[in-house]
Symmetry: C2
Subunit: 157 residues, 2 copies
């Protein structure tokens, strides 16, 4: 029974449809951006008349796009990446192409992984040094940070 309920739930999830603004609000982007991705062939939602209607697959693709953006890839690169998912797996030439393009991406990402780890180390070192310096001055680092933050917020207003 429980299993059945879960199946139902998941089915409902997968059947769920989204408007462009729903997706925009969920991912904190503008409808304009979503439409722009469509012009770049990153999305292809159904239409109800002229109105775009997104299903869970469209939503998943959008999430891939946004992750790609966080990684600093261009929309063109992201398209190539998404195409890897949708690539025709029947022809062996396509499979080989998939491997080729995928491996290039993997190399890039391995470099990026290294860069991120290096930078994280550096930033944590800087942070720890700052904490030590503040303690030596008899200042509570956390309080100092909170104060600065409050001050910056105040300046914004």
């Amino acid at each position: 029974m429980v299993k059945h309920r879960i199946q139902q739930t998941r089915k409902n999830m997968n059947d769920k449809l989204y408007s462009i603004t729903e997706l925009a609000e969920e991912f904190d982007i503008t409808p304009r951006a979503i439409r722009f991705y469509e012009t770049k062939n990153l999305l292809a939602p159904q239409r109800a008349g002229a109105t775009r209607v997104y299903n869970y697959r469209d939503r998943a693709r959008l999430m891939l796009v946004l992750r790609g953006k966080r990684l600093g890839f261009s929309l063109e690169d992201i398209k190539e990446y998404i195409d890897l998912y949708d690539a025709d797996r029947s022809r062996s030439e396509q499979l080989a192409h998939l491997m080729l393009v995928g491996r290039r991406r993997i190399e890039e990402l391995e470099q990026q992984l290294e860069d991120v780890q290096t930078t994280l180390k550096e930033l944590r070192t800087i942070e720890n040094e700052a904490i030590d310096s503040l303690r030596e001055k008899g200042i509570d680092p956390e309080k100092a940070v909170a104060d600065i933050k409050a001050k910056l917020v105040a300046e914004t207003a």
Copy 2:
């Protein structure tokens, strides 16, 4: 003696100066890009007359810029990051600010680390599936990839 020689070597390394094209060629970018970074205050080489002369510190900064770019950061963000290195460590307010900005960057990079790892997993899965599919078809995956690669190179020419 050996130590002395090492010192000498390092001293020579540190004293080494570079022209703009030398740096450009070393990092596979254009002199124009390097000059552009300077207009954005990411670099500030000495001048011999009008000619830019870069020392090892300038070179290190350039490397930081390029790593930031690989991470997908804007030049403005990169400047903020570099400024963390050069920040005034004497005033406690500066130290607190350093912590604040550094922590924001750390959060971003932790998200990015997660994204990179997730994407790498997905790509490796895709690659392995492609390899399996090709093997099932009695095709040597490595040869297939090499063939596709050669074909694409041929098309370019």
